[in-house]
């Protein structure tokens, strides 16, 4: 993992992105019942299942992944970075990070990919 992908620098970069520009579009799409994910791949989880999975994350990382305190925000982070971090937590290649290793050990790779995409895309239904 390149050094600039390390936690803080990535988080700081994400905080200067304007997610407010993205959110209304995603919300209105959700209102129409459209699928947010791109072209469906065979292994991809359905959107409602991804939404339920993501529902666990936001209880600590904040609504739609927007930080509410010491636990870092995850909204709008790079999808590849999120996937790599979550897999590293699960596989014990990252520092335990409070509950993250314990939680990720309960997720399969499809679920982790769905979460990475979900929060990379703005974390909103």
């Amino acid at each position: 993992m390149p050094p600039e992908r390390g936690g803080l620098s990535t988080l700081q970069r994400s905080q200067v992105l304007p997610p407010s520009l993205v959110a209304p579009v995603l919300l209105s799409l959700a209102g129409l019942g459209l699928v947010l994910a791109g072209p469906a791949r065979g292994a991809e989880l359905p959107a409602t299942t991804a939404a339920v999975l993501a529902g666990g994350c936001v209880n600590c990382h904040g609504p739609d992944g927007r930080a509410q305190g010491a636990i870092p925000g995850i909204r709008g982070l790079d999808e590849g970075y999120l996937r790599a971090r979550l897999l590293a937590f699960r596989d014990g290649r990252d520092a335990p990070g409070s509950v993250m290793t314990r939680l990720m050990k309960g997720h399969d790779t499809h679920q982790i990919e769905a979460l990475a995409k979900w929060f990379a895309q703005g974390g909103t239904q």
Binding site: V52, N59, C60, G106
Partner: protein, 426 residues
């Protein structure tokens, strides 16, 4: 009331920007569907908000007596003097802003065949789906000597409110050198680590203000959530101030005398308290009994994949009221159950495929400022049962450095801010 309701909802849909979605909604009948939710806590308020997110056209009504909901999570920090009472209160402006009809009344009765709910105001509401998230009620018949009147002398403080404030006042009035006695029930009960976090938070207060005081925990069981971490943390921060007595050492209390502030154990030992905190056995909130969804245990059995009740189709139950082992009765769990149930109900009403059942838990407990510990778990439905995903979950390492404990203390505060914002939207 179906006729006027349908006309009103369809009318508002046609006038709004969501009209493109109308044909599918009409075919599915969701435009006229009404979901009524009882309880404005972590389960009920979350269910209401996520139902609206999944299906904005649904008519969602939430019933909650309190204009501001005070949380049990972090009420131990209030006892310690680390949080203000006001900081535990959450209003319903966020729900109303999301288009949810919030009615401040008590839910008194359910007619499952007519699909109605009667309120303390005399009003009767019709529903297409009913979600019960009533929390717990105390079993006033389970512990001899401990009834509602006794709770005014020896508070349980296991529902955040006047009881919690009463216990804090008793701690403030107690003389230095007094004995704080806590009676702890057998499983299952609300918030498995709660009594042990409370012991630490009371100790934090005593250490500052009444350092000669003692805390005695009389427990009806031999094991409890995060036991090793609590024993280690109590010792590190408070020395011998906290004494825990489990079932094997005659910790089970069988009689309470609230006037005398004494308790008697199974083998006849009598303990005298200066402040007596009795956490009695519990059951599902009253309305669940009225709805006919509880079993002989007093709790609500639910379908693992949806949290629809096993007894009555169309009625869902969430949170502490349910039989959902191995998931604990925690705020986090109630919130994730609510998200699964909301997505399931919306999918059902919209004629879509339901989501895969997935639930999670994370509970931070504070032992002292800068000293936090955690437990986490991941759960799914398998063959009609809830299971913990093998290999997942567990507690903080026992050999963690001080920085890890400090991080988990900070994460606990961050968790509280995040889950409350997610639940009440304010």
């Amino acid at each position: 009331m179906t006729g006027p309701t349908r006309r009103r909802v369809l009318g508002s849909l046609a006038a709004g920007g969501a009209s493109l979605a109308l044909p599918a909604m009409v075919r599915a009948g969701a435009g006229s569907a009404r979901v009524v939710i009882v309880g404005g806590g972590f389960g009920g308020a979350t269910a209401a908000r996520y139902l609206k997110r999944h299906a904005p056209q649904l008519q969602v009504t939430l019933i909650e007596p309190a204009p501001r909901f005070h949380t049990c999570p972090f009420s131990n920090l209030y006892l310690a003097g680390l949080r203000s009472w006001d900081s535990l209160g959450h209003g319903f402006e966020g729900l109303r802003g999301a288009g949810i009809d919030v009615i401040h009344a008590r839910a008194d009765d359910v007619d499952a065949s007519r699909r109605t709910l009667r309120l303390s105001t005399g009003q009767t509401l019709g529903w297409d789906r009913l979600v019960l998230s009533p929390g717990v009620d105390m079993r006033w018949d389970a512990l001899p000597g401990y009834d509602e009147a006794a709770a005014l002398l020896a508070p349980h403080a296991w529902k955040a409110g006047l009881q919690t404030q009463l216990l804090r006042r008793q701690m403030e009035a107690m003389a230095d050198g007094g004995s704080f006695v806590m009676v702890i029930p057998d499983n299952p009960f609300r918030c498995p680590p709660g009594p042990y976090e409370r012991a630490a938070m009371v100790a934090h207060y005593f250490k500052q203000h009444k350092p000669r005081s003692k805390i005695l925990l009389l427990d009806a069981k031999d094991n409890f959530s995060k036991k090793g971490l609590f024993l280690q943390g109590w010792k590190a921060l408070y020395g011998d101030m906290i004494e825990w007595v489990g079932l094997a050492d005659d910790g089970r209390v069988t009689r309470v005398d609230a006037k005398a502030l004494t308790v008697e154990t199974a083998f006849g030992q009598v303990h005298k308290a200066a402040v007596l905190n009795v956490i009695p056995p519990q059951k599902a909130g009253f309305i669940a009994e009225r709805a006919g969804v509880v079993d002989a245990s007093g709790w609500v059995p639910v379908k693992a994949e949806s949290f629809e009740t096993r007894q009555v189709a169309g009625i869902y139950a969430l949170g502490d009221a349910t039989l959902a082992a191995p998931m604990p009765k925690s705020a986090f769990v109630a919130n994730t159950q609510a998200k699964l149930a909301a997505a399931t109900i919306a999918a059902d009403l919209l004629g879509r495929a339901p989501p895969a059942a997935f639930y999670a838990n994370t509970c931070y407990s504070l032992i002292g400022p800068g000293y936090g510990i955690s437990v986490a778990g991941v759960y799914r439905a398998e063959d009609g049962r809830i299971i913990e995903v093998p290999g997942s979950g567990g507690v903080s390492p026992s050999d963690a450095e001080a920085a890890f404990r400090a991080d988990e203390a900070a994460y606990g505060a961050s968790w509280y801010a995040a889950i409350c914002t997610d639940t009440w939207g304010a």
